[in-house]
Amino acid sequence: MKKVFLLAILIRLLVMPFFYHPDIKSQHFHFQFFSQGVFNIYDYLDQNKSTLGYKDTFNYLPLTYYTFGLTQAISRPFLGNNFYQWINDWGITQNDYSNMVFFMLILKIPYLIFDLLIGFLLYKIYQNKKVLYFWLFNPISIYLIYTLGNFDIIPTFLTLLAFYFIKNNKQLASYLSIGIAIALKMYPIMFLPFLFFYDKKNMFKNIKYAVFSLAPLFLSILPFLKQKSFYDSFFGSGLTQKILEYKFAGLSIFPMIFILILIAYFFSKSKYKFEIAILQTFLIFIGLVNFHPQWIMWFLPFIIIFFINSKIKNKIFFTIFFALIFAYIILFNDNYLTWGHLIPIDSNFINLTSPYQLIDLRTSINPSIVQKNIHNLLLLFGIVGSYYYGKNK
């Protein structure tokens, strides 16, 4: 087991420094103000917008700011001299920093820790080495964690931890764990009803504990509740709008299907009912929401078991589904989602023609329409898959 983890660490060490996405830079641009004594990042950005190199608002929750502000302050001695020059450079030289490889390595170390902890936790939950190996060596999670370099891995770990605790009848720990996850990023609130109805016998007991699932969020946003800058920043992030935007007859489809999944979950007697519900949510979410690639991470640890324990036709289904997701991602008109990932190796990669530009320049096809069609195909696959897994519990 030790050797497996070491090999996983080795692969990650070989990937971490050389892949980049600007999200990690924009987030750390904001986190730098923590070590300068700024505790209200929303007001600070609002007041200093005109003088800052990067103009966007901080679209995350306060706990995220404090957690990563502190992490950045701790890693400061290892980041090297021109790290702060780099995060404040948004001009034409922004990618011309040869030490970017080390910035990437150091900034992703917290992600490495939580990534390995997820592997360990998956092994504890399923007692199945195949699940562990799949987590540690599948290219999807390595891409999501180390290429996109987003911090979603931390709330993902906490959500998985909440599942582990609820499986072991530790309600308080479970709700507290998902509570911290929600205070870092709002999305785990989607998983909360599944925790609540996991054990129907203990539902009344759960009501008592459920308060802990929202306490960390309320406590951390309390000082900002009366501030317009907080609402402007936080609600500008787009997840809520994206979840609601796919409509039929004026009604948002995703919340309605989510309720259906929840009802099926409530009455389910399957050993894997939690994982099935998450898988169904994932399959529908991908088709109905204009998702950011890193959002796949939210669901990934919970759906691995289906890939491992399934027949070949199911494996083919998942392979096609993820291949379509990959095609959807590379068709964004954003070179930072394709060649731009390789900027730490050579900044000139950003100038290469992206798949979107290639289709646009060389053919008469509109790449956005191709992407839209792929998304519709994902929706079709999602509905079929969700129905299939709901039926074959």
């Binding site: 660490i9 080795l10 060490l13 070989l14 001299n81 040869s98 000139n348 990669f349 290469l352």
Partner: protein
Amino acid sequence: MAKISKLLILVIIEIFFLGLLFVILSTIFIWERPGVSQTSFEKNLPLDVNHSYTQSIISDRNNLNSVSVLLKNPGLQSRDIVYIEIQNNNKETLRSFSISGRGVKDPGWLNFKFPPLNSKKGDIFLLKISSNSQKDNLLYVYGDQNTQNINFKTTFTAENIKESFKDNLNQQIANFQSRNIFQTVFYLFLIFLVDILILI
């Protein structure tokens, strides 16, 4: 002995992976590289029938294949034509290009890409920019009022895979030399340490 062989295999795989990223991928895909540029001027100089500019460019690579100039079309109002010419040292036009003010941003780099010139490092080119605008103050170019020099960027393209490999190698060596040596050594040591730990 078996462990040493395994260590060697691991090291070879790692070298191959890093070689793939740093040498093979870059050589195959990056043929165009930025060359000499001048981007420090912040003053707007008028661009019209009475004001044209000629900037001398001493190329620092072979095969010039694009030039960019920083222009400003305030409020995107001008529809006048902007002319860009690349001339050799004898003022013979080698490449020319024109665009309506519609394509000029407020402000933005206007890129003029062309089939690569069969030029050598050290060749001198003249970048001439003019406009048919009759009115003053409609289009501007960023430059220096005293010297009449303007902001520009260039790119050069490799002629063949050998040249691309050479350019890439020079770029990687320059990057390596400008990296923090302590961090480089620490990273390589870390990789080697994990290799050893796997084999123990």
